[in-house]
C-alpha cells in the first residue's frame, strides 16, 4: 500500500528485521519493489497522483527519510524542493542514489539534452537501466539476498517489453503525423527514442509561460502538417491545449483532443507500466486517427 500517509506516524508498525528503502516517485518505487521482491520494506513518498515539481514534504515524509536505510530519488531537479534535503540526509550516514543522474552518467543522451531534463522514465529503454542499478544498491544493503540479480533481470526485461510495445505502436502512425503536441516539455526522451517530433506549449520550468507567437506557430504547424490530435497532461492546465484546438478549427483544420497523458506522475494509471502503456496507446490511437488498432494492441 501507499506508505505516505498512515504508516509513518507509528514507526512501531514496521517489521523489525527488514531494511527500509524509501523512493521518491512512483516510477522508481515500482522498480525498487519489483527488484526487492519483499526482502526490504519499500516506501514511496510521492503518491501516484502527486506532482513531484510541487511536492512539499511534511514531518511524516522527513521521518520516513531519516528512518530509511537507503533512498532512491530521481534527481536533475525533479524533486526541486527536496534537493538540499537529500544532501543533509546523506550527511547523517544514509545511502542515497539519484536514479536518473546515475543511469545517464556519461550517456550521449544527456549531452544531447544539453540541460538536465529529468523526465528519463519516458524512455523505457533508458529507464530499464534502473533495475540493475537498484539491484546493486540493494545488494550493498542486503548482502545475503541472492535473488536480487534474477529479479533485476526480470524487471529489466519487462520494461524493455514496454519499449517494443512502444515501437510497434508508434510504427502504426503515418510518418507525416508523428508530431506530439502537449502542454509542457516532458516528452523529449520519449520523442527522441521513437522518432516523434515533440512540441510543448510551455517550457520545462513551471515558471515559464507560453507566448502568443509560440502558440500561433504551433497552430500553423498543426494546420500545415494536418496533425490530427493534441494532448492534455494531467499535471498542467488544459487551457492552452484548448486554445490550440480552437485556433486550428478557425482555420478549418479539425484537431481532436487525443486524451490525457501522464507525464510526471502515473495519475489514475496507478503505476509506471500502466502509465507508459496508457501514454503510448493514447498517442498512437489519436495520431493515427482511428481507435480500433490500439484495441488490438492492448
Amino acid at each position: 500500500r501507499d506508505g505516505s500517509a498512515a504508516s509513518a506516524t507509528d514507526s512501531g508498525a514496521r517489521e523489525p528485521d527488514k531494511k527500509v528503502v524509501v523512493c521518491t516517485t512512483t516510477m522508481i518505487g515500482d522498480i525498487v519493489r519489483a527488484v526487492a521482491g519483499g526482502t526490504a520494506e519499500v516506501h514511496v513518498l510521492f503518491g501516484p497522483t502527486v506532482d513531484p515539481h510541487l511536492f512539499r514534504a511534511t514531518r511524516d515524509d522527513v521521518q520516513q527519510l531519516m528512518a530509511a536505510d537507503l533512498v532512491f530519488y530521481n534527481g536533475f531537479g525533479l524533486e526541486g524542493y527536496l534537493e538540499p534535503t537529500f544532501r543533509r540526509v546523506a550527511e547523517s550516514g544514509i545511502d542515497l542514489v539519484a536514479v536518473a543522474e546515475s543511469i545517464l552518467k556519461g550517456d550521449e543522451a544527456m549531452q544531447d539534452a544539453g540541460v538536465s531534463d529529468p523526465h528519463v522514465w519516458m524512455d523505457p529503454h533508458l529507464w530499464a537501466r534502473t533495475a540493475p542499478l537498484v539491484a546493486e544498491a540493494l545488494g550493498r544493503l542486503l548482502p545475503d539476498s541472492a535473488g536480487l540479480p534474477g529479479r533485476a533481470a526480470d524487471t529489466n526485461a519487462r520494461i524493455l517489453a514496454l519499449d517494443s510495445f512502444a515501437r510497434e505502436a508508434i510504427a502504426t502512425i503515418p510518418e507525416s503525423a508523428r508530431t506530439l503536441v502537449t502542454a509542457h516539455d516532458a516528452f523529449r526522451y520519449f520523442g527522441r527514442r521513437y522518432g516523434l517530433r515533440v512540441e510543448g506549449i510551455q517550457g520545462l520550468s513551471t515558471a515559464s509561460e507560453g507566448g502568443l507567437q509560440a502558440l500561433e506557430s504551433l497552430v500553423d504547424l498543426l494546420v500545415d502538417e494536418r496533425i490530427p490530435a493534441v494532448f492534455f497532461e494531467s499535471t498542467v492546465s488544459e487551457r492552452n491545449v484548448k486554445a490550440l484546438i480552437e485556433g486550428a478549427a478557425a482555420r478549418g483544420h479539425r484537431v481532436v483532443l487525443g486524451g490525457t497523458l501522464h507525464s510526471d506522475a502515473p495519475g489514475s494509471a496507478g503505476n509506471y507500466e500502466a502509465m507508459m502503456k496508457h501514454n503510448i496507446s493514447t498517442i498512437a490511437t489519436a495520431l493515427r486517427g482511428d481507435s480500433t488498432a490500439t484495441e488490438a494492441l492492448k
Binding site: 503518491g47 513551471t206 486554445a243 510526471d264 489514475s268
Partner: protein, 348 residues
C-alpha cells in the same frame, strides 16, 4: 507565419497584428485582454481611491484554499464508500477527472470570503485596509497550502498541479473567455458610469455619504463583488499576475495625469485597454516572450514614463514648472513699476 526578422520587418508585422491579421488566437487574445484591461482599469480606480488596490491579490491568494477544499469535497463525494475516512485511508478507487467548474466555484467562494473578511476588519476594527488585506491574504494562503497537503493524502483523484490549475495564461485565451471579458467590461463600464457619484462620495468621505443617506454598505459590497468578478475571471483566463497588474498599474498611471475622478477612471480604463493591445501585439511579433508579462511590462513602462513626464504630477513637469515660474518671476521683478502684478492697491 510570422517570424523574427529585421527591425523593419518586425515593425511592419506589428502593424499587421494591430490590424487584426495576426491569426485567430492573436485576435481573441487582443480583444480579451483589451476588454479585461478596460474593466480592470475602471473598477481598479475606485479600489485605489479606497486604498484597496491589493484586494485582488488577496482574492487570488485566498482562492487557493477554496480550490483545495473544493477538491477534497469532490474527492470525498466520489470515493466509493462515500466516507471521508475511506478516501483519506487511500482505499478509494481512481476518481473522476477534476472538475474545473467545481474548483472555480470553490476559488470564487473563498476569494469572496476573503474580500468580505477584509471589509469586515476595516469596518469594524481599527485596522487599516492595507493591514487587513495583507493579513487575510497571507493567512488564507497559508491555510490553502496546509489544506493542499491534506489533499495529497486523498488517493484516486489527481491532485497534481492543483495549485496552478485555475490560473490561466494570456496566450491561451479562448473565444468563451473573450465573451466573458466583454460581458465583464460592459458591466464594469455601466457600473462605474451609473454609480459614479456615489462611488466617489463613498471613497472620499464615507461618513458623510452615510449620513447623507447613501446605501454605503451596498455600494461597498457591489464594488467588492465587481473587483472579485474581475479577479476571478481574469486569473483563470490570463493569470493572476496580469489581472492584478491591470487592476493597479493603469490606475496609478492615470492618477499621474489627472486631477479629478472622472478623467481618472476614463484614462485608467483607456490605458488598461491600450496597454493590453500593445502588449499582446508586441508579444505576437517578438519570439518567445510570454504574453502576460509583456502586457505587464508595457503598463509598467507607461507608468514610468508618466511618473517622469506627466504634466500633472510628473517629476520633470514639476521641475519644469518651477523653472518657468522662476524665469517669469525674475522677468516680472526686473520690470519697472509694478509689473506682472495687477493687484492694484498694494503699496510698497
Amino acid at each position: 507565419m510570422i517570424g523574427p526578422a529585421s527591425t523593419d520587418g518586425t515593425l511592419a508585422r506589428w502593424f499587421e497584428v494591430l490590424t487584426l491579421s495576426g491569426g485567430y488566437n492573436t485576435n481573441v487574445v487582443l480583444f480579451g485582454v483589451a476588454l479585461l484591461g478596460l474593466a480592470a482599469g475602471a473598477v481598479g480606480s475606485f479600489a485605489m481611491l479606497k486604498k484597496q488596490s491589493l484586494v485582488a491579490d488577496a482574492f487570488a491568494h485566498a482562492s487557493l484554499v477554496g480550490v483545495a477544499v473544493a477538491f477534497l469535497v469532490q474527492a470525498w463525494f466520489h470515493s466509493w464508500s462515500g466516507s471521508p475516512e475511506a478516501a483519506l485511508a487511500g482505499a478509494a478507487r481512481p476518481g473522476p477527472e477534476r472538475n474545473m467548474v467545481v474548483l472555480l466555484v470553490g476559488a470564487g467562494i473563498a476569494g469572496a470570503a476573503a474580500v468580505a473578511a477584509i471589509e469586515f476588519l476595516v469596518r469594524k476594527t481599527r485596522l487599516r485596509a492595507d493591514t487587513a488585506t495583507a493579513a487575510v491574504s497571507s493567512a488564507s494562503f497559508g491555510a490553502g497550502i496546509a489544506t493542499l497537503s491534506i489533499a495529497r493524502r486523498v488517493s484516486g483523484a489527481d491532485q497534481a498541479g492543483l495549485d496552478s490549475l485555475i490560473f490561466g495564461a494570456a496566450s491561451s485565451m479562448t473565444r468563451a473567455d473573450a465573451y466573458a471579458m466583454a460581458a465583464l467590461a460592459l458591466i464594469a463600464a455601466l457600473f462605474t458610469a451609473v454609480l459614479f457619484k456615489p462611488l466617489r462620495a463613498v471613497a472620499f468621505n464615507d461618513r458623510f455619504a452615510r449620513t447623507s443617506g447613501l446605501p454605503v454598505n451596498a455600494i461597498d459590497i457591489a464594488l467588492g463583488a465587481l473587483v472579485a468578478a474581475v479577479t476571478l475571471a481574469g486569473m483563470q483566463a490570463v493569470g493572476m499576475l496580469l489581472v492584478v497588474a491591470l487592476l493597479i498599474t493603469p490606475c496609478a498611471t492615470a492618477r499621474l495625469w489627472t486631477r479629478a475622478v472622472g478623467p481618472l477612471v476614463a484614462t485608467s480604463a483607456a490605458l488598461g485597454a491600450t496597454c493590453g493591445v500593445l502588449g499582446v501585439s508586441l508579444s505576437r511579433v517578438l519570439p518567445s516572450v510570454p504574453t502576460g508579462a509583456v502586457v505587464v511590462l508595457i503598463a509598467a513602462a507607461a507608468f514610468v514614463v508618466s511618473a517622469l513626464f506627466a504634466p500633472e504630477r510628473g517629476l520633470l513637469a514639476g521641475l519644469r514648472r518651477e523653472r518657468r515660474m522662476r524665469a517669469a518671476v525674475l522677468v516680472a521683478l526686473r520690470a519697472p513699476g509694478d509689473p506682472g502684478v495687477n493687484s492694484g492697491g498694494a503699496e510698497r
